[in-house]
Every structure is written in C-alpha cells, then in structure tokens.
C-alpha cells in the first residue's frame, strides 16, 4: 500500500471506530452509573437498553435547531462541529498497532498537544456567543481550567519524549516494547508523569472531579445551556471522544501501546485504552467536584513544579543510563 492509501484507509477506519465507541460509551456509562447507584439504568429500548442511543439520537434530531435571538448566530452554529473536529483530529497520530495508524508523524506528540489544545477555542466561542450568563461563566471556567492544566499536561507528556528521544508515537512505543513500559521503568518519573498526565486529561475534558465548568447546581449546564438538539449532541459527543482519545494517548506513551505477550498488538492497545477509559468513568461516579480555588492550587502549586522536575529527572536518567536502559 502506498503511504497515501495507507493514511486514507486507516484514517477512515480509526475515526469511524472511535466515534462509534464514544457513542456506545454513553450507553455504557449510563448502565455503569446506574449499577453503582443501585439502579437499573436504561432497560426498555433493545436488549439491556442498548438501543437507547439510537432512540436518543433520533429524539435529538427531531428537536428544533434553536438559535436564541440574542446569540451571535454564526459563531453559535459553528462552535459544536469544531469541538468534534479538533478532538477527532488528534486520533490521526495515535498508533493502534504497528500498521493500524493513520499518520505516523515525526512530531506526533507535539501535534497531539497542539491540536488537542485547540479545543478550548470552540468551547469559549460556544459560551460567548450564547449571550447567556450561565454559558459564559461556564466557558470562563472551562477555559481557565483548560489552559491551566495544559501546562502540566504538556510537561508530563514530555517525559516519554525525553526517555525515548523521539516525538514520534511509534518510536516511543518501540522503545517501550524493547525495554519496559515507561509507567514501570524508570522507577518513579514514568509513573508520576502518567498520574499527572491522567489528572490533566480529566481536567481538559471537564470530567469529574474537574467538572466545575458545567456544575449543574449553579450553572444549569455550563457552556451547553443554550444548545438544543443535535448541536448539544455534538458537544456531548466531543466530550466523550476527548476522554477516549486521551486514554488512547496515555496507553500509547506510558503503557507501551501495542506491546504485550500472547495476543496481537492491536488487542493489547485496545484493551489498555478501554481499561483507562473505564477508570475515568469509575472516577467520575466515585468522586465529588473540586472548587475552583482547589483545582487552581493543585495545578500551579503542585503539578507544575512537579512535572518540571520530572522532565529534568528523566533527562538525567537518559544522560547517565542512555535510551531504553
């Protein structure tokens, strides 16, 4: 296959599968949260309520595409598709096995962070253009939190880059396959960097315990307050996609990606991604939310200095022990 065909085919496959899993996970989360709270969750539509998704999508499509009069109508319409677009683009650089990857860029990690970081813009635009104070307050908080946690995220994602001496995802995974997963070895920096990366991913995706931007009790629904129908559906889908892709990235750069015994690489990568994805749900339904001051203090006073230190420690490790020691 020529590189062009390769990119075309796998781009198509990966994007389709990820969107499907993200949509399915909405059903899974409803079932899972119901079990945690001793409820049944959706049961009526289809076996175990799995067709609830289809019913929900149909319902959303039959709603009126409501644009409030005072809203900036162009920006208001454009914001939700762009959240999905920016979130999905990150999927292009994630390798799911040696062959199953859409674009093996030499700046992979940087691309992931740069394009993933763009998501705060449509969120802000959605909140601003709604011309509603709940939406605007939600957007303010989402952006403040998103950009604050971007920094520890960037620095902790750098630890694997330093350890593998490459920004290419497939190189980072090969180094881990030859030696150890970065989360295990070098003892310390890898594991702590993964924890920081995971916390920051939760904050970026506005998941509990970092869901102050859409705190229902005070802000109605945050950024999505004025949205109805499929535009709301797109914003929600982007959130689930974001979480899924963040788990895939964490699985690739910290947990050795496709590396694993007995089974083909693809199986391992999918297993690791879904395990992390499941952990995010678990956390969501176990914890309560942080206050704004707590999460800002956590970011600037603890995660930022710690992640800076980790980069230095990783550099020293590479200097004295070499790559993949």
């Amino acid at each position: 296959m020529t590189p062009l065909m390769h990119g075309f085919v796998w781009g198509l496959v990966i994007a389709t599968v990820l969107v499907t899993i993200a949509v399915l996970s909405i059903w899974f989360e409803r079932k899972f949260s119901a079990r945690m709270q001793s409820r049944l969750g959706p049961t009526l539509v289809g076996p175990a309520g799995i067709l609830q998704l289809v019913a929900d999508a149909l319902k959303m499509m039959q709603k009126e595409d409501l644009i409030p009069e005072k809203a900036d109508s162009i920006l208001f319409r454009l914001a939700p598709p762009f959240t999905v677009l920016f979130t999905l683009s990150v999927a292009a650089v994630i390798p799911f096995s040696e062959n199953v990857l859409a674009a093996d860029l030499d700046i992979g990690v940087l691309f992931m962070l740069a394009v993933g970081g763009l998501v705060v813009f449509p969120v802000w635009i959605a909140g601003w253009s709604s011309n509603n104070k709940y939406a605007l307050l939600g957007a303010m908080r989402a952006v403040a939190q998103g950009i604050a946690y971007e920094i520890p995220l960037v620095l902790s994602a750098m630890v694997p880059v330093v350890l593998a001496q490459s920004m290419r995802f497939s190189d980072i995974i090969s180094v881990q396959a030859e030696t150890h997963w970065f989360v295990i070895w070098p003892l310390g920096p890898g594991l702590i960097a993964f924890v920081i990366f995971f916390i920051c991913s939760l904050a970026e995706a506005n998941r509990i315990p970092f869901d102050i931007p859409e705190a229902e009790s005070e802000l109605v629904a945050g950024v999505t307050t004025e949205y109805a129908g499929m535009r709301f559906g797109l914003l929600q889908m982007a959130e689930y996609l974001h979480t899924l892709i963040a788990s895939a990235v964490a699985a690739a750069i910290f947990f050795g990606g496709w590396d694993g015994p007995f089974a083909p690489g693809l199986h391992w990568m999918v297993l690791k991604t879904l395990a992390l994805f499941f952990t995010i749900f678990w956390i969501r339904w176990s914890l309560v939310r942080f206050r704004s001051d707590q999460l800002m203090a956590l970011c600037w006073k603890y995660l930022l200095p710690l992640s800076l230190l980790l980069v230095m420690v990783a550099a020293l490790f590479v200097h004295y022990c070499g790559v993949g020691a």
Partner: protein
C-alpha cells in the same frame, strides 16, 4: 513528507462530513415553530435580568497571562527533549539555566499571592 499527513486530512474531512450530516438531518427533521418567548436567553423562567456582557473577575485573566509564559516555555522544551542525548551535559545545563528565571517567576508570583484564587 506531506504524504504522511494524508491520515490527518482524511480524519479532518471525515469530522466535517459527520458533523455536517448530523446537523443536516437535524435541520431537515426538526420543526421550526417560532414564538417570542422561546428565543429568549435561558434565565430559569425569568426574562434576562442583566446582560452577560460585563466585567469578570480578574483572576481569569491572571491565569491566561501565566499560561502564555509557561506554555511558550514548555514548547521550547520539546525540540530539546527530542535531541537531548546528542546535546549531552551542555544541553542539560543550558535548559537548567533557562528554567531558573521561570522558576523564580513562579516563586515570585506565588509569594505575591498571584496563585491564590
């Protein structure tokens, strides 16, 4: 090579197609029944009391300013990180010296109370 970026392009196009298709069907199926109350901003049943276009807490802007400083720094780190082994001790010291002013900045900000929400 640019051929590497085909996958990115395909996913971008697919994202546009998915979003357009979902919104297109939505526009076709959704009803359009206008009346004045429906198009007002949501305000828990009240008419809008104050416009949201007003001044907000300065803390949000402080976060934005801090972000600019540290994110630029983090981006400088990346090329260094990818070739660090070839640069060796010299590279490490250079980056260490680069980090010191930033660390001093952070400590200053901290002591001045800029990190308090």
């Amino acid at each position: 090579m640019l051929a590497e970026y085909t996958g990115v392009l395909v996913i971008l196009v697919l994202g546009v197609v998915v979003a357009c298709a979902m919104l297109g069907i939505h526009l076709l199926l959704g009803p359009r029944r206008k009346f004045a109350g429906k198009h007002e901003p949501f305000e828990c049943g009240e008419s809008q009391i104050v416009s949201p276009r007003r001044r907000y807490a300065v803390k949000f802007y402080m976060v934005a300013i801090l972000f600019v400083v540290f994110d630029v720094e983090a981006i400088f780190f990346y090329p260094w990180g990818a070739v660090f082994q070839d640069l060796g001790w010299f590279g490490f010291m250079a980056m260490f010296i680069f980090t010191i002013p930033l660390a001093i900045g952070l400590i200053y900000e901290w002591m001045k109370g800029g990190l308090e929400w």
